[in-house]
């Protein structure tokens, strides 16, 4: 077993362990931290697969920006394990059984698939470099790229609208409370 295989198994086990701990952690902040571990492991997989650009973007956008946003929201809401809502036990068991059944069906279906000869290349190939990705992005995928900018604009407008409505609803609230606390 070469270094690549060892790294593959290490990153896979880290990812799955982190994912299980995301779901089972009682404290939501711990869940966020474990999710960051999962994202770092997946970025490691991207580097093994020579997708360097995606690895860095995954680290910056997911582990950097999105997870910080989640942590901010937790901080603003002042949540901890005491305020964590609990489902009853049977619903939890039913959820786990459903997820396990889906896993079973997918694995059983894919085990028979004739994919033994299909290999993913590691350690060579330039398609993950930003130069090649950028050339294809701005040649063949210009229209989706521009549409995604419209999507971002609408998301920005949507967030402002959703956030602003609450302020207007709150503004006519009783006066003394505005300066309270």
């Amino acid at each position: 077993m070469g270094t690549t295989q060892v790294l593959f198994w290490f990153l896979s086990i880290l990812a799955i362990l982190g994912a299980i701990l995301v779901v089972t952690s009682k404290n939501p902040v711990h869940s966020v931290l474990w999710l960051i571990v999962v994202f770092v492991a997946i970025s490691g997989h991207y580097i093994l697969l020579d997708a360097q650009f995606l690895a860095i973007v995954n680290l910056i956008v997911y582990a950097g920006a999105i997870m910080v946003l989640f942590l901010f929201v937790f901080m603003l809401m002042n949540l901890n394990s005491d305020t964590e809502p609990q489902k009853n036990r049977w619903l939890k068991i039913a959820g786990v059984v459903t997820g396990g059944a889906l896993l079973l069906v997918l694995v059983a279906a894919l085990k028979r698939a004739d994919l033994k000869q299909q290999m993913a290349t590691l350690g060579n190939g330039d398609i993950g470099l930003i130069k090649n990705l950028g050339l294809v992005l701005f040649h063949d995928y210009v229209v989706p790229f521009e549409i995604s900018s419209v999507l971002f604009l609408s998301a920005m407008v949507g967030v402002v609208v959703i956030g602003k409505k609450a302020e207007e609803d709150k503004a006519p609230a009783p006066g003394p409370q505005r300066y309270g606390g």
């Binding site: 809401m77 290349t121 990705l133």
Partner: protein, 115 residues
Amino acid sequence: MGVKLVMPINYYIFLAVALFCIGVAGVLTRRNAIIIFMCIELMLNAVNLLLVAFSKMHYHAMSAGNPNAGIDGQLFVFFIMVVAAAEVSVGLAVIVMMYRNTHSIDVNFLNRLKH
């Protein structure tokens, strides 16, 4: 590097399926809205990982004829990340609104949407 390093695509498929199913189980078992959201992110990342693995599989099979074979898969991952970022911003705004109105992020409170 003289010898070509390869990894069977099966391993990546089963890893991605496992991550995806853990995400599904998380969505079904948790009631904290933000944790449910994080499990959706987990599922998106499982799909991203599989797309990159398939992109390299296609590159392995086709790179003799086309040096850019399989690059589309990585661009799809890029677009999924773009959409996920927009989705997270709007979704967290909705969750913050919900917390302001109900002082809880228990998704069970949302069943009053039906009235």
